[in-house]
């Protein structure tokens, strides 16, 4: 039986809103009911087709079904580009470009897109962030493998409809040493906070805000997330 994604009933919304108001970001633990989070994880691992995305040379590329050798070659090129440029390399699967339903309604991830755009979650996000204009969420599933990363950027990209960024983490166990940390930078380029992608957590931060995903360590694991922007209409 498939469980619908569901927010945990135990969330202390007032406390979360208070934390968010101080730092304009928050890491929320145990955000979904445990069983529904496990269901999302299973869907990401067993039912999701991944494409590799990168921007080597300054142009975004989206490459489905790469062989192992091609993926390695693309990774080396991406590491070269990342040295001094804004760069990213990871696997993704687009769920919703702008809040519209997921294409295949029989897929479990269609239920997740519906969950993200239903009043319960949108209302929760308005409450935590205080951003009453939040109307819908886009979404992509992402899989960062060892060596994958996203270098520093402010997550706004001139798009005024982006009010806040979010990321749900679904990897069952993770260690801080494994990298793949969502890190925030101050004006001097120093790291002021880093969120470890622990299972069933949700990071939310207002944009623009300088952040990066540190390279997943060569000894790290596969890092499964669903992320996107909370947008105004």
């Amino acid at each position: 039986m498939e469980l619908l994604p569901e927010l945990s009933p135990a969330l202390d919304r007032a406390a979360l809103a208070h934390t968010f108001s101080r730092g304009k970001r928050i890491h929320i633990t145990n955000v979904l009911t445990k069983l529904s989070a496990e269901q999302v994880y299973r869907s990401l691992v067993t039912e999701t087709e991944w494409s590799t995305v990168h921007n080597t040379g300054g142009k975004r590329a989206d490459l489905p079904s790469l062989s192992r050798d091609e993926r390695a070659r693309i990774s080396f090129a991406a590491w070269g580009w990342a040295r001094v440029n804004f760069a990213f390399l990871y696997d993704n699967h687009r769920l919703s470009h702008d809040g519209e339903p997921y294409a295949n309604q029989n897929h479990y991830l269609a239920k997740f897109v519906a969950f993200l755009n239903a009043p319960a979650f949108i209302g929760f996000m308005r409450e935590v962030t205080g951003l009453q204009a939040i109307g819908h969420a886009d979404a992509q599933a992402t899989l960062y493998r060892p060596g994958d990363f996203m270098t520093q950027h402010d997550a706004a990209a001139g798009d005024k409809s982006r009010l806040a960024a979010y990321e749900f983490s679904f990897t069952p166990s993770w260690a801080p040493d494994w990298g793949g940390l969502l890190e925030f930078l101050n004006e001097r380029g120093q790291i002021t906070t880093g969120y470890v992608p622990e299972f069933n957590s949700l990071n939310v931060f207002s944009v623009p805000q300088l952040n990066l995903v540190s390279q997943v360590s060569t000894f790290g694991g596969p890092r499964y997330s669903i992320s996107g922007w909370l947008r105004s209409f």
């Binding site: 520093q152 260690a175 801080p176 940390l181 120093q190 906070t193 880093g194 060569t218």
Partner: protein, 242 residues
């Protein structure tokens, strides 16, 4: 960067930057038990230490295999790669480190070769101005001397989470002086501190001529230098009580 190209670098003992805001630094340390001090040395001193690390240092590979601590001199790049892959395989299952180092002083004693610039670095770290600077900003009046090693983290190198609490030492505070001219947060090699919730409370990016000081024990790590990172040169150790 301009000082780097200066070929007239002198061989004087390194000096602390005279303009450091000691009261502010001490305040920051007292609040968090750690502090990141940019521009810690004079520019000329930092440039000289940088040259010493990049041109005058004989590096050994250092790593652990469980509780065996290994130091290997003259390791070939191929051999180093093989050893790195093995260390990466062990890393998910326990404390692990892997980087190059060069021992400068085990317990505050002078560097073995008095004609080498490192002798002046060790003397500096154990000099009155540095020891009293450390006492002043940490409030740890018992600080007497510093041990030291030079370290070089190459892409893929790292030191996993630990707290520096080991028996038999009188370590009061740990320090790291960074000497890589250009670094980015993205390149890893970040000295990061974990909070009680095991998330990252703060991460010090190894910018040129910064000095990091933190009270021990403190849960921390050096994140793996990204495969697109650079060569991370530091001098690091502990300040000890008598």
């Amino acid at each position: 960067m301009t000082a780097m190209a200066d070929t007239t670098l002198h061989d004087e003992m390194p000096e602390l930057q005279p303009g450091l805001e000691r009261a502010r630094i001490a305040g920051a340390f007292r609040q968090r038990g750690r502090v990141h001090i940019p521009g810690a040395l004079t520019e000329a001193s930092a440039a000289r230490v940088h040259r010493c690390l990049t041109e005058e240092t004989k590096w050994s590979l250092t790593f652990n295999n469980g509780s065996n601590f290994c130091d290997i001199e003259n390791v070939s790049p191929e051999e180093r790669n093989k050893l790195a892959f093995s260390a990466w395989q062990r890393a998910p299952n326990g404390f692990q480190y892997f980087f190059d180092n060069h021992r400068l002083s085990r317990d505050g004693e002078p560097y073995s070769d008095p004609s080498h610039y490192f002798a002046k670095v060790v003397a500096f770290l154990n000099s009155k101005p540095v020891i009293s600077f450390l006492r002043e900003i940490t409030g740890l009046e018992a600080i007497e001397r510093a041990d030291a090693q030079a370290t070089l983290y190459r892409p893929g190198d790292f030191l996993t989470v630990h707290d520096d609490e080991t028996g038999g030492h009188k370590r009061l505070a740990a320090y790291v002086l960074n000497f890589t001219p250009v670094w980015r947060a993205d390149w890893g090699g970040v000295l990061q501190f974990l909070g009680p919730d095991r998330h990252i409370e703060e991460g010090y990016v190894p910018v040129f001529n910064a000095m990091n000081i933190f009270r021990v024990p403190a849960l921390h790590s050096v994140t793996q230098v990204a495969l697109y990172g650079g060569m991370r040169y530091s001098i690091t150790g502990w300040f000890h009580a008598r």
